[in-house]
Amino acid sequence: MTILETSGLTKRYGRLTAVDHVSLSVEKGQVFGFLGPNGSGKTTTIGMLLGIITPSGGAFRMFGRDGGDELHAARRRIGATLETPNFYPYLSGRDNLRVAARIKGVAEDRIGEALDIVGLTGRQKDAFRKYSLGMKQRLALAATMLGDPELIILDEPANGLDPEGMREVREIILALAARGATIFLSSHLLNEVERTCTHVAILRSGKVVRQSAVRDLVAGATVASVASDDLAALRRIVAEYPAATGTEERGDRLFVHLADDDLASLNRFAHERGVTFSHLAVEKRTLEDVFIEATAKDAVGGAA
């Protein structure tokens, strides 16, 4: 079931197109990472989904509904944060959650549980303004999970957290996903995304340049590092190999970008042509490699 779907979503600020025909599709149960460098339009996109920024063009559907009051009703089934944790500084953590619960129409006795999950029970009576950044982020997470929303949208939930805080946030997100929530989160912490997300979309200058399952993005981009006594022969047979999409040479190594991850087939291909590898290893590419490649200045348009 498609929980969230955008088609051609666009936002223009004067001559700047902050979000440019973004089409995304998020299925139920996914943990969807929305990646992009600073200023690529992540917050603007999420702002449009949440009804606080009016789109200049395009459309989107949530839970299969679109437009007006229906969409507004759909938003009640969402827990979301945008940019920073936004709370009343003079109210305690608990009172801030009471405001959120009343708006969402959630019973106030669910607040304790949410505070418990994010580990703020001990500080719930303190004013929000006295919280550390990490505590503020965790309170925002607690607010999003009130009322067991079907979709949780988080804009950089781990922003400014220490490694321990990041790990806690990751565990909370995975726990929410395990409870059946669909999660849409923006980030530029690629390591975190690779560890938490099932799917990603990469945004560059307002355009989606990649969108796929994390597994496919990384797996589809296997790099084999090979070496042979006869480097010239090696170059020749690699150039002939059908699944090779590109090569780089570093020292006596040849890095072969493969369309699949079938190293055995490469080995057989070379052997049949009389070239023996003195070295054959797989260099799994990380999401970071994919991200840097997709968002590089010269990767115009992107080949999604």
């Binding site: 709370f87 009343y88 009172d95 009343r102």
Partner: protein, 356 residues
């Protein structure tokens, strides 16, 4: 979402806001000073003492633009902080529609306007009860206008001349030992002047008040009308502050513009019309401008006949002009309501269109 829940949410936000209570307490304090001084000793410029059944009308007359100012300050603060903390955004993200957020905020402004009306009237009631219980009687002796009458000025001159003459005569006829004593007093012109002023005050014509009626109800129908009129005016100033805060989204900006318009710009418009148009045009337009229009219903004289009669009795005893009140309902009620409608509608239309 029901109106009740919207009010509940705003209530939760407002009652824990210390600044709200500070503003309200400050208003209560200033009201007490303004009205208490009536009872305690009188002061120059005070129109007439607080004696039930006229206390509410007096309170409304006494307070002047002060509650409007405090009210505006408080509403601006309560509204703009929703933008600076980005909680307006979060409220919408959490599930309020922009229309609901707007409604909740305007309801809050209405409630605050009501609170800021109740406080000065509650203080007036308190002061009156205090006066009744302790039997404190009004001591202020000045008439509705604060300038001394010409009769009063003549009396002061006469008294001054008289006491100076007496002092000089004493010096002339005194024995040596007496002269030392007297000269200490007479050489000091200050002392002589002080004495002269004291004498003059004693001779000043005293205002004659209709006797207070201890059996009168603490609050009459006229009082309720005064209260309602004061609330209407307050609501208008609340709407004006609400509009500025929602549109400018900055505390300094909204308060600055409010003050500038409230204290200065509207008069400027009047002056410019007089200068470049005609006096006739200015007289026609100026009463319809917001500050004048909204201060109309806060004038107790238009609502409370008994109060006006009383003021006129005092004025008559001092030989001053009668107080008149123009009770044109269109101007007193229709015009403020129209302004409130304009402010709220403009705010709504702009707010709905703009991103949060």
């Amino acid at each position: 979402m029901k109106i009740g829940s919207l009010i509940g949410i705003e209530y939760l936000k407002t009652v824990k806001r210390r600044a709200f209570w500070v503003a309200l307490a400050f208003l209560a304090f200033l009201s007490t000073v303004a009205m208490g001084s009536e009872l305690m000793g009188g002061r120059r410029g005070v129109s007439a003492p607080l004696v039930a059944p006229y206390s509410w009308a007096m309170a409304a007359g006494e307070m002047g633009p002060m509650p409007a100012f405090f009210l505006a300050l408080t509403i601006v603060m309560l509204v703009t902080s929703e933008f600076s903390w980005r909680t307006a955004r979060q409220n919408v993200i959490d599930g309020l529609s922009k229309e609901q957020f707007f409604t909740a905020k305007w309801l809050m402004a209405t409630m605050v306007a009501l609170a800021f009306t109740i406080v000065p009237f509650a203080v007036a009631t308190g002061v009156t009860i205090y006066g009744r219980v302790t039997g404190a009687t009004p001591t202020s002796t000045l008439a509705p206008s604060s300038a001394p009458s010409s009769a009063e000025q003549a009396a002061t001159h006469a008294a001054f001349a008289d006491s100076t003459r007496k002092a000089l005569a004493t010096v002339r006829t005194a024995t040596d030992s007496q002269r030392v004593l007297v000269s200490r007093q007479a050489d000091s012109t200050q002392a002589a002047l002080r004495q002269a002023l004291r004498d003059a005050r004693a001779q000043r014509p005293r205002a004659v008040y209709p006797p207070p009626d201890p059996g009168a109800p603490l609050v009459s129908l006229g009082d309720l009308k005064v209260f309602a009129g004061f609330f209407l005016g307050s609501l208008g100033f609340a709407a004006m502050a609400f509009m500025l805060a929602m549109l400018l989204r900055s505390t300094g900006g909204a308060i600055g513009v409010f003050m500038l318009y409230f204290a200065f710009l509207e008069q400027m418009i009047g002056l410019l019309l007089r200068r470049f148009g005609s006096a006739d045009l200015a007289n026609k337009v100026v009463p319809y401008l917001p500050v004048n229009a909204l201060r109309g219903p806060t004038n107790p004289n238009v609502w409370h006949e008994a109060h006006v009669e009383r003021l006129n009795a005092v004025a008559a005893s001092l030989g001053q002009a009668r107080v008149t009140a123009d009770a044109d309902m269109m101007k007193l009620v229709g015009l403020p309501l129209a302004w409130i409608g304009v402010f709220v509608l403009v705010t709504f239309l702009v707010f709905r269109k703009r991103d949060l």
